[in-house]
Symmetry: C2
């Protein structure tokens, strides 16, 4: 399931970053720092974002025209909001170079694959769906960093139609940025991410919501400490991005929510049985203490 490129990738001549925000901007900055890109063209809808991307040195050229940016590019990174994915792919398909590598950075993969099948036609083989497991609560190119993907895991979910060359190119690029690359099916990705990311976000949102909507919620909140701060950090995430992720992966999120509810039942039923409660907590505490986030330990 793991894959690491042994040879460094060839220098990218023209990188088109479609959606030049935190994710796309960080990819451009990281490639630049690695000396692996000659020219970066960024696409952003708002003039302010284009100005900022230029000002911060993230891109050499900024435009609001995605097909124009992608024209002649040897690598195209799609980093637009999920809702815009299908329309953007449709607009890009006719102008993509036949040998261009096309990747996205979306947090869900089955829906992106479906959109790619419906739109990319003859370019489908050059599309490598990608999900870099990295991010911040704050979006926008002003938070982009050449370090965002360093030691992060990047999951690639190739289709049966994907050219082996395109997959290998994608692996080499991400590995050159210091990421740990994994390859799996879109379905396995979505099931796993529902468990380790999407459901935790849903739970954090629900926990903050439940507290905030109590009559004396503000008074209670004033007593919250560092444990609450960390537990709910992800509840500050961008609402539109998470609306799309949770909606796109609703089926797998429901599977994980059901597993969570069963566990919560067990813990609540054990509140009056200290010995059983301790057993349950010990299992959770043991797992959490022995787990280390990817990157903190060597790749297995």
């Amino acid at each position: 399931m793991n894959a690491t490129a042994a040879t460094p990738p060839a220098t990218v001549q023209r990188l088109a970053v479609i959606g030049c925000g935190l994710m796309g901007g960080s990819f451009a900055l990281a490639l630049r720092r690695a000396g692996l890109v000659q020219r970066v063209v960024g696409v952003a809808r708002s003039p302010a974002a284009r100005q900022q991307a230029l000002h911060l040195g993230v891109v050499d050229e900024a435009t609001d025209n995605a097909p124009a940016a992608a024209q002649g590019a040897d690598v195209v990174l799609l980093a637009v909001p999920v809702a815009a994915t299908a329309a953007t792919l449709r607009a890009l398909a006719p102008v993509l170079r036949p040998d261009a590598l096309l990747m996205d950075v979306g947090s869900t993969k089955a829906d992106v694959v479906q959109a790619a099948r419906a739109t990319l036609q003859g370019r489908l083989g050059r599309f490598v769906p990608a999900h870099p497991i990295a991010g911040k609560e704050k979006a926008g190119v002003e938070h982009a960093s050449a370090d965002l993907y360093r030691r992060a895991q990047v999951v690639l979910t190739p289709l049966p139609d994907t050219d082996p060359d395109a997959l290998q190119h994608a692996q080499a690029l991400w590995a050159a940025l210091g990421a740990r690359v994994r390859v799996m099916t879109p379905q396995a990705h979505d099931a796993a991410l529902a468990a380790v990311s999407h459901l935790p976000h849903l739970l954090a949102f629900a926990a903050v919501y439940a507290l905030a909507t109590q009559p004396d919620g503000a008074d209670k909140l004033a007593l919250a400490g560092p444990g609450f701060r960390d537990f709910t950090r992800i509840a500050a995430s961008d609402p539109e991005i998470w609306r799309d992720i949770l909606h796109a992966n609703a089926a797998q999120v429901r599977v994980q929510a059901a597993a969570f509810r069963a566990a919560l039942d067990a813990f609540e039923n054990a509140l009056q049985e200290p010995a059983r409660l301790q057993q349950l907590i010990e299992e959770a505490s043991r797992v959490r203490r022995t787990w280390a986030p990817a990157g903190a330990t060597p790749s297995p």
Copy 2:
């Protein structure tokens, strides 16, 4: 609800720390650094802990005999596991100086107050139940720090029987350590902490448990990133301590769990209704983004 001592407290002549671990050890270190204590006597069951407390300069004297340590002390801090509270209070009652200030540091207060009423007899008026909202996942005197209570909130829950002098002394001591002192009833404390600490721990335990007990839980866990790390940090907490807290405050934890389940239902029902889902997430995200942990902002 807030109280800050205007005048610094008198120097403590003899501080007895009954249970010389993270919380008790940090109190001793902080008082020392503030130049507010002459002699610290620490009580620990294990010879290794006593040795370490002496070695780290947390205490001047270490013993396993709580009554002997408390004898002649003008301030006694009880920092033993919840399960040992009643027995320890009973052992201390006969030897406490009539003017000694007695405090605990427990995370639940109604149960401690009940134990104090049952054991302290004539010394009840000198007992000021305290809960410093500070801590780490790691217990033990080796993690004690003079900074643990700096800018932390400390809740004092006096009884109707509590001497105003004792309450004022307690306020002055914690304030001198840099803590923000709040005074409320034991019941209000337990209801608020169930919401902002106890339920979040229960949810984090249950979330890790639900993931770990899936057949491919380890594979999924390997994909978890920084969001999961922070969300589940509190799930690594000490099982015995949290067994006692959750058991002691089970009724309020259930109230909060019910509120959380209602919120989770609303979020799950909205998975297929993007507009509604966004509304719910926006409310949670707004509350979380505008909240800052106590200490990060000036006291209101």
